[in-house]
């Protein structure tokens, strides 16, 4: 019987490793494909040559390439593509954490109002032109805004020491609406800089830089490490406070650590690219069908799938559509209806299988 169990487990683990490998390969393929797409078509071989030349510092690898190709790849496309992939990964990761802790499949940085909070903080920084901390100024303001929003939303939905799942999203939407009004007010005050805020708010990768890539990359790496470290605890916390406490999980402490981590990752993503909704909602939801509820499997799968999804969406607006639709608008247009479907399923009492 126990032998049987062990083989069964190995089987499901194998499936997971295979799936993760497939997703990782798909991520790299999507990055390569997107880099080649655009006004100027570039072959995969040329892209690898340019990257190789930079990695190994060997200009000889660029022989025979058009002069503009290295510039287009390294300075125009790759920063934007990597930012899109990393932000997608970060938002999906935040979604996994929020959904896991709050036990609510509708929770994500956007529906909880966290994104709006971060955007409000970042708008303040942009408006006041805070540059005291260099590249970290906007993300830092965004982080403070995200944490403050998280606290308010959780406080609003807590009754008798219990977070009510029903009121949580409602609180998030209300607080998000107030913050959106606040952002509008900031825009009204902004006068000359209003264009910067407006364009950034709609979510855009067009002004991505290598600094942004580094920032989001560090946030995703940090968040991923924390979540992998606490993955088993997060699984057990889904049984509720009394059960997880009695199983040896420092529930209260871990909850705070994970919520702060998810909010930090969200804040950095928002500070770099504006509000991009629903990625954190859709991706964990889809991946749960594929790998099950175990957060240790859900996290890597969601990170790759989030990267692929947001990068594909960005590539569509950049290279396929005749006009460049702001990415935040596109994800909301796709994700909004998806939210409605999950909401209906949840109302009907359908659960995950």
């Amino acid at each position: 019987m126990s032998l049987n169990t062990t083989t069964m487990l190995r089987h499901s683990d194998k499936k997971f490793y295979f799936l993760t490998l497939v997703l990782a390969v798909c991520t790299i393929a999507t990055i390569t494909l997107s880099t080649g797409m655009g006004y100027m078509s570039i072959g995969a071989g040329d892209i690898f040559r340019v990257i190789g030349a930079h990695l190994f510092g060997d200009p000889g690898m660029l022989d025979g390439l058009e002069k503009t190709v290295p510039y287009v790849v390294m300075d125009v496309r790759l920063p934007r593509i990597l930012t899109a992939a990393l932000v997608g990964a970060g938002l999906a990761m935040s979604g996994v954490i929020y959904q896991g802790i709050l036990l609510n499949p509708l929770a994500d940085p956007y529906t909880l109002g966290i994104s709006s909070g971060a955007a409000f903080g970042a708008s303040l920084a942009l408006l006041a032109n805070v540059t005291a901390l260099g590249h970290f100024s906007t993300p830092l303001f965004a982080f403070v805004g995200a944490i403050a929003t998280l606290l308010v939303v959780m406080r609003l939905s807590t009754f008798n020491g219990q977070i009510s799942a029903q009121t949580l999203i409602l609180s998030g939407v209300i607080v998000g609406a107030i913050l959106s009004a606040g952002i509008s007010f900031l825009k009204y005050l902004a006068d000359e800089q209003v264009a910067i805020i407006v364009f950034w708010l709609m979510g855009s990768f067009s002004s991505s830089t290598w600094t942004g890539v580094m920032l989001v990359g560090c946030a995703v790496l940090f968040g991923g490490t924390v979540t992998v470290f606490l993955g088993r605890d997060l699984n057990i916390m889904s049984l509720g406070r009394r059960s997880s406490d009695s199983l040896g999980v420092e529930t209260a402490k871990i909850r705070v650590i994970l919520l702060l981590t998810a909010s930090l990752v969200t804040a950095v993503c928002v500070a770099i690219t504006g509000i991009i909704g629903f990625i954190g909602l859709i991706v964990p939801h889809l991946m749960r069908y594929l790998v099950g509820p175990d957060n240790r499997k859900l996290l890597p799968a969601s990170i790759f799938a989030g990267a692929i999804l947001l990068l594909l969406a960005d590539t569509v607006t950049r290279a396929v559509l005749p006009v460049e639709v702001p990415i935040g608008v596109l994800t909301a247009l796709i994700g909004g209806p998806f939210f409605c479907v999950i909401f209906r399923q949840k109302q009907k009492g359908k659960s995950y299988e």
Binding site: T5, G248, S351, Y352
Partner: protein, 263 residues
Amino acid sequence: MSSAALYDIAGVSFAYNSTPVLDEMNLVLQSGRFYGIVGPNGCGKTTFLDLLIGCKVPRTGTIRYKESPLASYSKRDLARELALVPQEFDTGFGFTVEEIVLMGRHPHIERFSAPSREDWETVDRAMAAIGIGDLRHRYTNTLSGGQKQRAVVARAIAQNTPVVLFDEATSSLDVKYTLQIFNLARNLVRDEGRTVIAVIHNLNLAAAYCDHLIFMKDGRIRHHGPTHATMTAETIAEVFDVHAQVTKDPFNQAFQVSFQYWE
């Protein structure tokens, strides 16, 4: 009062915000016994269990477990000593029964280790003892209330702790499974010398299975002691405000509580 007390509870009180729930609790519990906690709804039984497992912290007073204050144990250390079978639990995003039972091994497995063969064997044995082997790969959110409760009992058994606390754990079980769980608990005490502390609503089950009873009312301990001394018509009338008669059942020789049903 023997020197090796399992629990030493002294002057403990607890309140939710300004609502007092437990008041001046003083109690010593010994290991190797089957304790039953009985009392009317809302008298603080579940809160008392929460204090015993360290999930809540008393407002005043101290709880000592094996002579050290409960607060001095880490959650992980406590989880190797105490297992809880809660009344109900969230099913989360739907783990399988096997995964739920394996979570009982959490305090025994290092952070980055996979479950060992021994862990799996413990899980298998626990599931076999409860008879839920056939539910192994079922998702918990597709189970009936009774099946869920049995999965949680199996998890507590897999946790393999010297003390097991039950919070009205048989409330949605039929008579067969209720007796199965109670017999299992009794065997833990008789054969393995473990301690069981159970909140029980059914007075006949409490009288039949427990060595010692703790009668609670309005956040206080009214009576405690050996079952034969505390399970009396007077105690039941005082604590529950109902008229009852306690006799020996001729069929199973256990105490039999009969109630006056019609006024």
